[in-house]
Amino acid sequence: MRQNRSSRVGLINILGLIALAGWSQTSSAQSPTTTPAAPQCNLLHDLVPSDPTDPRTSDPNKLTPVDATTKDKILTSGLPCAEIQSDKGPAKTPIENRQRGFDFYSWLTFIALNSPAANRKGIATSQPDTPTVWERASLGRADDDSQNFMQLLDIMLPGGVKPEWGKKVVPPACQSQHALKPNLMIVKMIEESFNQPFKTGPLIDQRNNYAIFDILMNKVMFNYIVDNNLYSQAGQMSDKNSALRVDFPSGHHDQSGNGDPGAIMIKVSWKILDPEDDKSKFHHVQALVAMPSSPDQQSDPPCMEKTLGLVGFHIVHKTAGRPQWIWTSFEHVDNVPEQKDVDSGKLRSSYNFYDPSCSAADCPVNQTPPRPWDPEPENALKFRVRADGKFLFNSQITRVVPLTEATKVMNDQFQSILGNTVWKNYMLIGTQWPSAFPCTADPSLLPNAPIPKTDFEKQPDMNCAPAPTFLANSTLETFSQGEIPQASSSCMACHGNATSYQRPKSLGDTYFNQSDFTFMLEKAR
C-alpha cells in the first residue's frame, strides 16, 4: 500500500498536478490486480495544496484556477465526501475565505451529481435531457450506490411498508402509461409538492403552471432509515427506538481520497415545460405526474405526462466536520431578477417567475396566489383561470437577498468551464454552513471521539451560527426570503427543529426525538 502511494506521488510530481483531484468510482479501467482501489472522494478545493503529498492542505496565496487549463480536471473530479476549506486566503476576512471554500465545494458537488448517469466524467458533453447521476433510481436504474438517490415518497410508503431500494411505487392512474414508458420519472404530488414550507403557498410560473417540488435521499440515508426501522410511524414509536438518537452517517475522507460521502439529501424544483418553452435551456426529464389526491381520498388523482425543467436544486450533505450539514442551493439563471435589478430597470426580456412587462402596481412582488391553492383536476397542473379564460394569477417573484459578489465571480468561472452545456444555465445561490467552531466539530473531529460522534445536545446554539445567517432559493423558499430572524429562511434554523415520532418507553423517561436536521422522518406513515 505504501509502495502504491509512493508511486502515485511520484507520478503527481512528474505531471505537476499538485492538486490531484479524486477519482470517481467508475474512473479506473486498469487492472485491479495492479492498481489500488480508486479513491471515492474528490479532494479538489479552492486553494492549491501546500503539501503535494496531502491534497487537503492549502496554500493561502494560490487559488485553484477555474478556467480552460483546469476544466477537464474539475469537471471529472467527482463527488466531495466532505468540505475542504480554510480561513486563510486572499479574501479580506476569515469568513469570506471559508465561504469561498464552501462555495467551491458546492459547485463540485453540483457537477458530480448532475454528471451523466452513464458517464460520470462526461458532463462537458451532456445534453439537456441526459439523465444525471442523482436521477438514476428515479428513472428505473436501481444500482446500489451511495450516489444514487431515491424519492422520499417511494420510501415512506402507505401502511408503513418496508421500502426496497430502487423500487418505484406507481400510482394506479399512472400504471397504464408506466407500462408503455417504464423509464419515465414518476412524481407523486402531495401538498409539499406544490405548497412551500410552512404552507406559505404555491409558486405559479409565467405560463400558469404550478412549480413542482420533490425530495430525494441517497443510499446511505435509505440504509440508515431501513436499518433503524424509521420508515414507519410504528417503527419510530417502537420501544426499541425510544433510546435511539437519530444520527445519519457523516461524509469523510482521508488524504488519499478514501472515504465515504455519507448522507446526502436533495430537494428539487421543477418547472413544467410547455411546447412554447425552450427546452434546450433547462435540464429536463419526461415524467408522469400524479396529481394530489382529493381531500376525501376516494378518487385516484389523474396522472399526466409532462416535461419537467429543473429550476431549483438544494443539496444537503452531512460531513464529519459539519454535523449540522452543509446546505447548498442552485437555481436556473432565468428564474427571477434581483430586486435591485428591478429598481434599476436592468431586466432580461423574460423570466420563469417574473413578468418584466407588468408594473409594480399591477403585479406586486412576492405575493402568494389567492386561495384555494390546491391544484384542481379539471385544470390539470395549471392554476385556475378567470371566467373569461385569462390567467387569474402568475407569481411575480424577485430575489430579496442578492448573491454576494464573490459567489457571482465563482458562478462566472464555473459557468464558463461548463461551456455550451445546459449546466451553464445554473448558478449557485449560496452555501450555508455552521460557523461557530466551539460546537461545530464537537466532538466529531476529535481523534478518539466516542461513537456516535454527533454532539447531540447542541447547546447553547443548536445551529452553530449558520453562515450566511439566511439563505433562500427563489423557487423553494419563495415567500420566506429576507433577513428577519425567525421569519426569513435559514436552512439550519428551520431544519434544526425537525423531529421524529419517537416516544419515551415509559412516561417520565428522558428521550430524544430530534431527527438530525431532516423532516423526512415526519413523512412516515
Binding site: D87, T93, P94, I95, R98, S435, A436, F437, P438, C439, T440, A441, D442, P443, L445, L446, E457, K458, Q459, P460, D461, M462, N463, A465, P466, A467, P468, T469, E483, I484, P485, Q486, A493, G496, N497, T499, T510, F512, N513, Q514
Partner: protein
Amino acid sequence: MSKSTHREPVQAAQSAVEDDHASGLTRRTVLAGVAATTAVVTVGVDTPAVAQRANPDSDMETFEQLSEALTGIARKKLAPDTDSIGIKHDYFKWINEREPAAFVSLLKIAKDNANSSQAMIEKLQATDDTKFLARSIVLMWYLGSWYAPGDLKKLVDSRSAPKPVFIPHTVISPKAYAQGWVWRVAQAHPMGYSDMQFGYWNREPAPLDDFIIRTKVRGT
C-alpha cells in the same frame, strides 16, 4: 426599529446608574459588566478639537477591545474570527453616525490603554462624552438597543427626582434584538427567538462558560 416601553431594559439602564455609587470597578462577573463604566474617576482626556469619524477598517479591532473591557465578555465571543453575524459592524456604524466625536475620543482612549482594561475604563470616565457613550455601548451589547448618552446622563442628573425618568431607547434591528447578550448571560434566549435545541426546556441549561467564554472545541 421600534420604540419600546418594555420595562426590563429601562431597569437595566437604571441599575447601571445606581452603580454610580459603587466604590470600585465591578467587572468581576459578566453581569457586572453592565456597570463597568460607572466608577467615578477623574482623569484628564484630550478630546479632538475637530469632530472626526471613526474608521471601521482601522478602528474595528480597538472597538472590539473596548467592547470586551466594557462588557466583560470574551472578545472572540463578541466578534468571532469567523463571524457570521457581524453585529459589531452594525454597532460600529450606528455609533459612528450618532456620536462621531465622542466615539473617536473613546476609541483613542481604548487604543492608548489597550494593555489594561481597567485603565481604559478609568480613563474613559474623565468626561461625560466618553463616560455616557461607554454606558450606551454596554447597553447596546447587552440589550441590542440604543440608549442615547444624553438620555443616560439625564437619568443621572435626575436621580433625586421623585419619579424615575423614562429612558427612550430604540431596538437597533431585528438582528440586534436576537443578539442581545443579556439573554445568554441568563442562559436563556430572547422572547420569540431561540438558537437552542428543540426540547432544551427539558434539560439543564448549558454551562455559563459555553455562552460567554468558551471559544474552542470542548476537549481540545
